[in-house]
Symmetry: C2
Subunit: 146 residues, 2 copies
């Protein structure tokens, strides 16, 4: 009775029940079953789902999230060591994403002063004049690994 039904988990996690079934089908979460085949979730799943949603909303794919979550134990409640492992492995990825955002914000900010996003060169944005707009070569704010 400490366990949650799919409806309860859905409401408290702020996602639709169908999404939870989908996450389960994708191996992101697991459920216990009652005698009558209904899903029951230990409370730890609430954290897990919150984690999934947070990660999603900052641009990480379910696949990436799935890979990270594989570091948490399937059956038992995660231990300190489990979370430490997850945190360690994700830190660079999260830092990278934060840096991208800051770069985007700061580029925008610094360009207010010089209009460099529309001009040919900008000392702030393009210190070495390597990407002068007339020459060949890239103007990417960053490489595009898509």
């Amino acid at each position: 009775m400490t366990d949650l039904t799919i409806g309860q988990l859905a409401e408290r996690a702020g996602v639709a029940p169908s999404a939870l079934r989908f996450y389960e089908s994708e191996g992101l979460i697991e459920s216990l079953r009652t005698a009558g085949n209904q899903r029951r979730y230990p409370r730890a799943t609430l954290r897990r789902v919150a984690f999934i949603r947070s990660a999603q909303r900052v641009g990480l794919s379910l696949e990436e999230i799935h890979d990270a979550l594989r570091r948490l134990p399937a059956g038992r409640t995660p231990s300190k060591a489990d979370w430490a492992s997850l945190s360690r492995s994700w830190r660079p990825r999260l830092d990278e994403q934060i840096e991208r955002l800051q770069r985007l914000r700061d580029t925008l900010d610094s360009c207010i002063g010089c209009g460099c996003l529309s001009l040919r060169s900008c000392a702030l944005h393009n210190p070495g004049d390597v990407l002068a707009e007339r020459g060949p070569g890239a103007v990417n704010l960053e490489p595009q690994p898509r």
Copy 2:
């Protein structure tokens, strides 16, 4: 001759030509046409596309990006004032996204010490014990406006 063909823009921006056509169909970018109906892009478009890609990769939708870009002039090269306007209007959104990421990262970090993502309460994560896991109420890291 200062203008780029779709292939050139695609290469320098690191996106497929089909993506550029798609962006145009969605009103994110514009093109001039040659007598023979081929697209030609002023250099400023390179910046615009770089901007679109950067924003996308940190979890912003094309619709959000589209709304932001409406602040930039369609025809002429954006002025300082144009970028300032865009930057001003986007700053809160970008800051919000940065904060989400930091919250995710820091939650992970701080939970290494106490295992709070699996335990019943955690002073760091849940200062007021408002969301004690047994009670009713949400455990969301943040509200879910999806």
